[in-house]
């Protein structure tokens, strides 16, 4: 199995406002999600398609007995889809919403790194100019001369066809 368990919360034991983010690549851009939300990272396995679902919803998989929906982040952001290959990775996340916590998988190009960002390193996202809807962004952060786009997982995965009530 090409899955590696994400490490738990207090890796560095750093207090205060510093948060750790797992970053991954998507069409040459680097995105980050709160590492405490990451349950595991696994390779792509075929999902059972859900009838009449939007194309970014790839279907559901069996994650040790739980039925977990898989979302293609490229298609969700309207980017051209990529052929799935051996390096295609699914990041399994815990999503909090109105009806409690749910588990969902995100298909990304590749996993990149883990960074810690203090509050100073983060800035609020610009209102314009991004492919991604600003609602789904938590902010932007800088590592060296790279920009990392921090995603708000709960907003992203509780909207549209993914919302609990299914309200568009």
């Amino acid at each position: 199995m090409n899955e590696l368990q994400a490490t738990g919360g207090d890796v560095l034991g750093i207090g205060g406002e510093t948060d750790q983010y797992l970053t991954f690549m998507l069409a040459d851009e680097e995105y980050g999600v709160d590492i405490l939300r990451v349950q595991e990272i696994r390779g792509w396995t075929r999902a059972t398609p859900i009838p009449n679902a939007p194309s970014y919803l790839k279907g559901v998989i069996n994650l040790r007995g739980a039925i977990v929906p898989i979302i293609d982040l490229r298609e969700r952001f309207g980017l051209p889809p990529l052929e799935y290959g051996p390096t295609t990775v699914v990041v399994v996340l815990k999503v909090l919403g109105a009806s409690g916590s749910r588990t969902m998988g995100l298909v990304v190009d590749a996993v990149s790194d883990v960074y810690s960002f203090g509050p100073d390193a983060r800035q609020s996202p610009p209102e314009l100019g991004a492919v991604v809807d600003a609602r789904f962004l938590q902010g932007l952060a800088t590592v060296g001369d790279k920009m990392v786009i921090l995603l708000d997982v709960d907003r992203l995965l509780n909207t549209g066809a993914l919302a609990v009530a299914g309200l568009e």
Binding site: T48, P49, I50, A66, V68, A163
Partner: protein, 757 residues
């Protein structure tokens, strides 16, 4: 010893609700001479009172105290059982339930109602019973009381022969062994603290009984240099002014009895001269609940409190009546001469026999695990089948092992599923009260018969079937069974029969609600349906079709809308709810002879028999219950309807054909009909012929909700995991019918298909 009582509160509440149910069911057919029933009711009320006191539900305790006093007067024969008393007690039970619910949810109680009922209880306590006989007329009650005591004596010699006064002493408090108080000399052994006993706590319990004066004697204290702080060298002289009896006092010291010298003497009245004489004046019946009830009950309350607080260290049996249920069982087990005399209490026994409380989440965890095991097993089975070409001997052993694993898994699964099963009596038990109240309100006479109460079904199903059943029973009472005069005029017995019957049939539970009332009148039903626009005027309907009309939305036959039933939201909702559980409801009726509703429900919602089908390259599961038949397409039986919809002629029926691939795999062209298979399914009285590419096996599937991590999808009832670990979606036939309806309206025409056929 600090114990967090919070964790017991839920248990207390649950037990109390059970107790209230017992009170209710016993009250409804309570007769004067039924000592066993009266005692059962008394015990239940007493437990509630005791628990309420322990857990700080003061209002509940105080309220229940009055109820208990009334019950005790019944128990000792001072007060006859009248209908008014029953009604009062029933209402009091409701109040207690409200108060407990309010305490649990932090909600408001109906204070006015409680005050009203309290007022009535007080009034009847003030008014002496109509039959003021000091001694119980019923031998049974006394014998039982004696039994109880002999058991207590046997179990705990501390109490031996102490409270002879309990039965005899109801009117004159002076006759009992109860003095104005007790002088207690308590000389503990030096080691008493080492065993975890603290005199202070003992005194605190005594202080609860009444006015306590404590004098510590320090004569035994050694010089400071020799003093061992872990030894107790003090002794105490206590004066307790209280109306408790000696046993109560001694019981406080029960746990230190072996480690002390204890002397308990009655105080003379003279000795309490310095105590406020008003205390004595108050001990006059009936306004104050004194007498045996409060005496016995106080000591029991202490006992039960003690049983809780000592937790695991004490053996429950040594504390008489600590938990009422335990004592009941203990009596049976110990063989102490109760058997064979008293009226048996089947309901109580059934819930009492060796049950344990387990959180539903734990069970669900187990069920999930077993589900996984089933999947693993079928996965291994599949591998085994594929290995047929391998080494013969080894393979045979593997297959043997797999067969055994399969058998074990199935058995394990069945027993785990069984944990969730409860007898339907949990639902049925609420009906005696309902029928009693309703028939009284409507002036009807109704005999309720319950049978098959032990039939088991899944807890989840049980929770959801309650309301529909209540609705059907209300309907039967309100609309079905006629008023007594009408019944006599029709040559029927004055009281109507209402029979609830449950039994297993196949993988289903069947519940029948049968009344011998007027039955359904097809003509009136049709007239009503025409009036409501449900049926076109002049349309011919068979009687069965007419009966079905009651399930139509917005249909109510009540001539005037009553508050009992007949708001017109009834039967269609009943049917919908039952459908949602994967069940069905039918009605059979004969005019003038009554009517029967037959409800069929699956035993469980967690596992289902499914037919695996292939559609558009994916495997889907069709619930076996909704499949009528599966067949190969005969091209000549396919007809087109207005060139938009294909129908299949099956015997004398035309069934709409649905290309599943169109519905499920968006945008794919439907394949050719000629090579396809049809699965004819039925739901909501409508049939559909589903076009599938292939029929695969049938198997039991573990239903997993899509909502857990995603959301509900129209046309699907869930998902399951197949032997190879992949997910297969389970089709929801009634959802599909809705989906097709939507499609047909949206799309102007159904593509292809016609040519393909």
């Amino acid at each position: 010893m600090a114990i967090d009582v919070g964790q017991f509160i839920n248990t207390f509440l649950e037990e109390s609700f059970e107790g209230l149910e017992l009170i209710e069911s016993q009250l409804l057919d309570l007769r004067d001479d039924d000592a066993e029933a009266v005692n059962a009711i008394f015990r239940a009320a007493h437990s509630i009172k005791g628990g309420a006191g322990t857990f700080g539900f003061q209002a509940v305790g105080d309220f229940t105290h009055g109820v208990e006093t009334l019950l005790d007067q019944v128990r000792t024969g001072v007060r006859p059982v009248t209908d008014e008393l029953k009604a009062l007690l029933l209402e009091a039970g409701d109040c207690i339930r409200d108060m407990l619910v309010a305490a649990r949810d932090g909600a408001q109680t109906d204070a006015a109602r409680i005050a009203r009922v309290q007022e009535r209880i007080d009034a009847s306590l003030r008014a002496p019973g109509k039959r003021p006989i000091p001694f119980p007329p019923s031998e049974g009650a006394r014998e039982l009381e004696a039994d109880r005591r002999s058991l207590e004596e046997g179990a705990s010699n501390v109490q031996s022969g102490s409270d002879e006064g309990v039965v005899a002493d109801t009117t004159d408090p002076g006759l009992g062994l109860r003095g104005p108080g007790w002088r207690i000399r308590f000389v503990p052994d030096p080691d008493v603290m080492r065993t975890g006993n603290d005199p202070l706590r003992l005194f605190a319990v005594l202080a609860d009984f009444g006015d306590l004066q404590v004098r510590c004697e320090l004569e035994g204290l050694p010089p400071l240099a020799e003093l061992d702080p872990e030894e107790c060298r003090m002794s105490w002289l206590l004066t307790l002014v209280s109306d408790v009896n000696k046993t109560d006092v001694e019981e406080v010291f029960e746990w230190v009895l072996d480690e002390c010298t204890l002397e308990v003497e009655a105080l003379d009245t003279a000795q309490v001269g310095d105590i406020d004489p008003v205390a004595n004046d108050e001990i006059t019946p009936p306004s104050l609940p004194v007498g045996p009830a409060s005496m016995a009950s106080d000591h029991e309350a202490v006992a039960s409190e003690r049983a809780r607080s000592v937790g695991g260290t004490a053996c429950l049996e040594t504390v008489p009546d600590a938990a009422e249920g335990t004592s009941l069982e203990a009596r049976g087990v110990g063989g102490v001469a109760v058997a064979g005399r008293s009226t048996p209490l089947p309901e109580r026994r059934s819930t009492d026999t060796g049950s344990i409380r387990v959180g539903i989440d734990k069970i669900d965890g187990l069920i999930n695990l077993v589900g996984e095991l089933v999947i693993t097993q079928s996965m291994l089975g599949q591998i085994g089948d594929e290995m047929v070409s391998g080494e013969q001997a080894c393979l045979e052993r593997l297959l043997e092992g797999l067969a055994q694993l399969e058998r074990n898994t199935r058995e394990l699964q069945e027993s785990v599923m069984n944990i969730r099963m409860l007898p339907i009596s949990f639902v049925f038990n609420r009906f005696p009260r309902l029928v009693h109240d309703l028939s009284a309100r409507l002036g009807k006479r109704i005999e309720l018969r319950l049978s098959g109460e032990q039939t088991e079904l899944d807890k989840t199903v049980m929770e959801k079937i309650g309301d529909p059943l209540v609705h059907l029973v209300r309907n039967a009472i309100d609309h079905g069974i006629e008023l007594p005069q009408k019944r006599i005029a029709a040559g029927k017995p004055e009281s109507g029969q209402l029979h609830l019957h449950a039994y297993h049939k196949g993988g289903n539970i069947v519940i029948e609600i049968r009344d011998d009332g007027a039955g359904l009148d097809p003509r009136r039903l049709i007239a009503k349906a025409v009036e409501r626009g449900i049926v076109a005027p002049g349309q011919e309907l068979t009687d069965e079709q007419a009966h079905e009309l009651i399930f139509a939305a917005g249909f109510s036959t009540a001539e005037q809308v009553s508050d009992v039933s007949g708001r017109g939201v009834g039967m269609d909702v009943v049917r919908k709810n039952i459908k949602a559980l994967g069940g069905s409801v039918e009605v059979r009726s004969r005019p003038g002879r009554g009517c029967t509703f037959v409800i069929r429900l699956p035993l469980t919602l967690a596992i289902m028999d499914g037919q695996l089908v292939r559609v558009g390259g994916e495997i889907y599961i069709v619930p076996l219950v909704s499949i009528v038949e599966s067949l190969q397409v005969r091209p000549e039986a396919v007809h087109s309807l207005a060139e938009r919809q294909l129908v299949y002629r099956l015997r004398d029926e035309y069934i709409p054909i649905v290309f599943l691939v169109e519905l499920l795999a968006d945008g794919r062209p439907p394949g050719s009909l000629a090579s396809a298979l049809l699965v004819v399914v039925e739901a909501d009285g409508q049939k559909l012929a589903l076009v599938v590419e292939d029929l695969l096996g049938q198997q039991q599937v573990v239903i997993k909700a899509l909502e857990t991590n995603f959301r509900r999808i129209e046309g699907l009832s869930g998902a399951t995991i197949l032997g190879d670990g992949t997910v297969a979606l389970i089709l929801d036939v009634s959802g599909l019918i809705g989906l097709c309806g939507g499609r047909r309206e949206a799309a102007g025409e159904v593509a292809a298909g016609v040519d393909a056929a």
